[in-house]
């Protein structure tokens, strides 16, 4: 079970889970119309380091903008049952590989032993189904947009131990060495 904390109304934190966050895919002008294509993720989790977020908003007057963040790194949370079926991106017309939940690979995913995925199982009071993060999927959102989203659509924050575990596994996956 994943431990969680509640910090509604506070500032953006590493491990925050926020509803309905958009990734702006493309902006283009087509025949006199501006088209903005965006993917709206039902749930995302903040991956940017807590200390960076804290320094960004430090309360003391800053002589420079050295600690300013251009954007915040997020990863989508997918319903793990959709991930097992390989259908979590079906509304984007993408078919992913299915994972048999009853076989070794499925068990390993739930036990966080598959490097690519991070499984989260929330306490019963939290309205989120068992979820998985796919470390191949991450994107950045501007600080101001995400803070605005947090104000309106904050859900919960991962507890510190689980936050660190997620951070460490994400970093390990990103820095993996691809052998031929």
């Amino acid at each position: 079970m994943t431990s969680v904390e509640s910090h509604p109304g506070g500032l953006l934190l590493q491990g925050d889970i926020i509803r309905d966050v958009a990734l702006i895919e493309d902006v283009r002008e087509v025949h006199g119309h501006i088209e903005v294509s965006q993917i709206v993720f039902p749930l995302v989790i903040v991956l940017t380091q807590g200390c960076d977020l804290e320094q960004e908003r430090g309360s003391r007057p800053k002589p420079t903008d050295d600690k300013t963040l251009i954007s915040v790194l997020c990863a989508p949370l997918y319903n793990v049952e959709h991930v097992f079926k390989g259908e979590h991106l079906s509304d984007l017309e993408l078919r992913m590989q299915s994972i048999n939940r009853k076989k070794t690979e499925g068990r390993m995913l739930r036990q966080n032993r598959l490097a690519r995925y991070h499984h989260l199982s929330f306490p019963s009071g939290i309205p989120i189904v068992d979820s998985a993060i796919d470390f191949k999927h991450y994107f950045s959102v501007s600080m101001s947009r995400l803070e605005e989203a947090r104000t309106e659509r904050y859900v919960v924050t991962l507890g510190d131990l689980h936050r660190e575990l997620l951070s460490q596994r994400f970093a390990a996956y990103l820095s993996r060495i691809g052998l031929p």
Binding site: R19, D20, A22, E25, E29, V30, G32, H33, I34, E35, V36, S37, Q38, I39, V40, F41, P42, L43, P76, Y78, N79, H82, E87, H88, L89, S90, D91, L92, E93, P127, I128, V129, E152, R153
Partner: protein
Amino acid sequence: MPSPPDTPQQIFDAGYVGRGTESDRVLNPPSATIPVEDFGMPATAGEPKGSSLIRPPASYGLGKPRRFVLRARVVND
């Protein structure tokens, strides 16, 4: 409040979900399957004149990621 879009052309004009060619979107807008009341809210008064931008719904539960293409007419005035 204006009526929610319900025909493919209205959905296309208002903003829609899906991808593919422009004609695909008009002919087969996936958003046609979204309940009308979930489709979204009209643009607010602060948006540019002539905008046909429709906001995505505030929430659609714990579903899957979806693509929205918001469309606004460029107006020179």
